[in-house]
Symmetry: C2
Subunit: 309 residues, 2 copies
């Protein structure tokens, strides 16, 4: 019998849910605005109703359960733990809530880990035993795979490359520390870098210049925008070269909004990466973009938590 799982991607803005089969096809989808639910319970009830209703459509399958990717998701506790950008505060035991309502297995982990698993089952990391997955959005998330398994670590919070200090005493980070990779290598980092370059040249600030806007400027030949991308790529190349010294992956896969800049970002990242690699690792590690579309990857990744079991 064929296997089926539900994948749920929870973000600060949207919640996406889909039924996923073994081929990585998304069969039924639904989405909600996260802010519509003051309490997690309200949303869980709606989600379970949807799942139970649709399950009737698939009588001859083994339903593996509900996989969830969420910010600050902890695989060991099955809970979202103190996620800063969520309306649901404190510890939210989502996996347990789904298990008790559906009598099916539920696994929850952080969004980057889930996406890494999705990429391993259905995307650019197929047949890859050692890779690092980097999500470049507002911040920088990461999932690390060693010997075909996600590294969760002793507490479920392994893989926070965005919060490795790249420049000691550098830019202030949302985490309360300074110089974290994500303050340089993310959409937010790019924005800061662009503003800093303009300031140094005594050019007036452009407050609405977000990553997309800076990308357009760069494509149209704006010097400061091009320089901002070059610096971001330089720094990301260094941060990734440092990461290789931990787990020596075959691949690094980049995912998320900022990768929409394509070769404008990817080519200089590759150059900086090779330049900064320890000789042992040179010309061994491929940097590539995700082969999944952004909306699908999150659902596929979450469903992979159960389909890969």
């Amino acid at each position: 019998m064929k296997k089926l799982a539900v994948g749920i991607d929870i973000g600060g803005t949207n919640i996406l849910l889909g039924f996923v089969n073994e081929k990585g096809e998304i069969l039924d989808r639904i989405s909600w605005k996260t802010a519509s639910f003051a309490l997690a319970e309200e949303w869980v009830t709606l989600a379970c109703d949807f799942i139970l209703e649709k399950l009737h459509k698939y009588p001859n399958v083994i339903f593996r359960g509900v996989g969830i990717g969420a910010p600050n998701g902890n695989v060991y506790s099955g809970s979202i733990e103190h996620a800063p950008n969520m309306p649901w505060k404190g510890t939210v035991p989502l996996a347990q809530m789904f298990e008790s309502r559906l009598s099916s297995k539920s696994v929850l982990t952080n969004d980057a880990n889930a996406a890494a698993l999705g990429e391993m089952l259905f995307g650019a990391a197929k047949n890859c035993r050692h890779f690092i997955y980097i999500t470049l959005g507002t911040g920088l998330g990461s999932g690390i795979v060693v010997d075909g398994k996600l590294v969760y670590g002793s507490d479920g919070f392994a893989g926070e490359i965005g919060h490795v200090v790249l420049f000691p005493n550098g830019r202030p980070c949302g985490c309360g520390r300074n110089g974290c990779v994500e303050t340089y290598c993310s959409a937010t980092g790019l924005k800061t870098t662009y503003a800093e370059i303009r300031q140094k040249k005594n050019l007036p600030p452009i407050p609405h210049a977000d990553a997309k806007y800076i990308y357009q400027l760069a494509v149209n030949g704006d010097k400061e925008a091009i320089q901002a991308f070059e610096l971001t790529a330089d720094w990301l190349g260094l941060a990734l070269a440092n990461s290789v010294a931990y787990t020596s992956p075959e691949k690094i896969i980049l995912f998320g909004g900022l990768t929409q800049a394509g070769d404008l970002l990817l080519n200089p990242v590759k150059l900086s990466f090779e330049k900064n690699l320890l000789h042992n690792y040179k010309n061994k590690v491929t940097i590539t973009s995700s082969s999944l579309t952004e909306c699908d990857a999150a659902i596929l990744g979450a469903a992979s938590l159960l389909l890969s079991m």
Copy 2:
């Protein structure tokens, strides 16, 4: 029947060999000066003669084979690959040489990985599933254990924390790059730091001031020596805090010459480490010294490669 293995530690100066039983007792030992052997074959012949001769003393054991820890040792190829401080140049397929001469299994890995495994079987990492092992000698070596297994990565060279860049464009490193952790956090790093502090204060250089000498000065109240230890500890604490964001270990175990400084190094390292940790990890990770003596650890570690199988 009881198990027995041979552990061999190969260094630029000495080669140590011992028979090790399951309790972690070293039964027979021998050592050589590495420089006495222009070719690896010459030494392998002597080592095999010793092993075969002594094996007769243990008739009722299962001999598991020969474990080897060596600089630039690669577990996948069983070879020493281009080790900079060894008389044997190029690629030396030591594991294969032992296997063909002894008809027993032989496993080779880098010295820090071997020591990490020894610590897991017989030392401070017993029953520990997630830890990072740091050897603080002339350089900084490391072994990373995830879920009870050494991380070797795609090419066998995972775990080179000494060559993560701590300060971009920092001190020149023997690897040809700049700002590597080991240029700051090692016996060599301490020496450089002490010299830099004296220079800044216009004090005359002390060319013979090595790590031991600087330690003695610090114990006797020398301000610059104390400051050198404080800075080294600050930097090591930061480097270790960064490492936690990759694999989220329960423990970090420090080993090697520089740890003989005891609390003079360990206490400020712990302070800097906690200060620099991302909030997720605070008050969860123990930093401790190895519980094995330096000479034994290397042999036990190498033998563990086979005893742990």
